[in-house]
Subunit: 203 residues, 2 copies
DNA sequence: GTCTATATTGAGATAGAC
DNA sequence: GTCTATCTCAATATAGAC
């Protein structure tokens, strides 16, 4: 057993408590306004413990984000491999993303706050590329649908952004309103409403 | 001429420069992270000047928000008085709101950051009621359209939220991406795509 | 690993001269 | 109205004992 492994086993609870407390405080007060003092008090430890585990406030923040973000990215890869008609693939994609967000509301809320709001002095993380990849995935599906006749031939950019709008707003509702006024089934109904406008009139 | 009027004339430039600098810094660093020192330096004055005009940082923030918010509210009232078919009224409503946002991007960005993100220690302003009123206005229009046969009879909650989603995401694009990937005409096309799904099939 | 105690910096805010 | 100089407090971070 290496020294690293020993350390990893020993520090168990404290690390997690610090991460959880920081996440809660970053969300309720913002990265800048949440002080180290508050974080350690909420975790029932003292300041040096935080510096021992994470080096500094930034290190704690990065540690907090990296796990869930990596998980999200790998989920993104898996979901694009889904087979079926374009409409069903779009629905499946959006529902999966929404479910991911619902499972990690706290982290998602923080990501959105940093992405959409001022960085607040938090170290930079490239959320932009991640969001763009999501946009691009939906764009490709819509384009494919327009080409193979499943969607209207003019369902290009505008159609893709309309889908993204619904997904985006549904996600935001998860962490900006309690209880959220949009859930999975409702988002699906909204998307189907949109699709009936997007779908090719073959009747 | 009262004392108030004299004062109002005299302090001209400084007040405005402080407000503008604060708005810029609140947006780029967040309310908590933007320091009074930075604000006054950017305005070319010293700290006591800020305290002279606004009492404190919170006073400055409130002064900054109140003007545009009142203007926005009165615009909301005016736009709901627009006459015409439901579809055109919805389009007019959304285009007007988007235009308002585009004319006050900086304030809108700050409002969204505070509304969606952590309050950062900024004094509370009730944006919720304002947003709800917007949601309610759209809800009423859709409901009316469903009743008078201009929209599908089942175009209720879901249809309204689909409209809101498009408007919401279009607004966000204005202050979260340069250049914005959505403008007025594109939002209109997205809404019309949605409408063709919502509209009653009378053909 | 975790503590007490403290160094150091920068924050918001004010006193008092002009 | 605007300044210089300063107060007070809380922030991040660390030294050093256990």
């Amino acid at each position: 057993m290496t020294q690293e492994e020993k350390t990893a086993r020993q520090d168990g609870g404290v690390r997690e408590r610090l991460l959880a407390a920081a996440l809660g405080l970053f969300n309720s007060k913002g990265y800048a306004a949440a002080s180290v003092r508050e974080i350690v008090e909420a975790s029932g430890v003292t300041k040096p413990v935080l510096y021992y585990y994470f080096g500094n406030k930034e290190g704690l923040y990065l540690e907090l984000m990296n796990g869930p973000l990596a998980e999200f990215e790998s989920s993104l890869k898996r979901v694009t491999a889904f087979q079926g008609g374009v409409t069903e693939r779009i629905l499946h994609f959006c529902l999966t993303i929404l479910e991911l967000v619902r499972e990690n509301v706290e982290v998602a809320r923080l990501v959105y706050a940093i992405y959409y709001g001022p960085p607040q002095g938090a170290p930079h993380i490239d959320f932009n590329t991640l969001f763009d990849r999501m946009v691009e995935s939906i764009g490709e599906m819509v384009r494919e649908g327009a080409e193979n006749g499943e969607l209207r031939p003019d369902a290009g950019q505008d159609g893709a952004w309309a889908v993204i709008s619904i997904l985006n707003t549904a996600m935001e509702e998860q962490f900006c309103h309690t209880p959220p006024r949009i859930d999975g089934p409702q988002m699906e109904r909204m998307l189907r409403l949109l699709m009936e406008g997007l779908a090719a009139k073959t009747a």
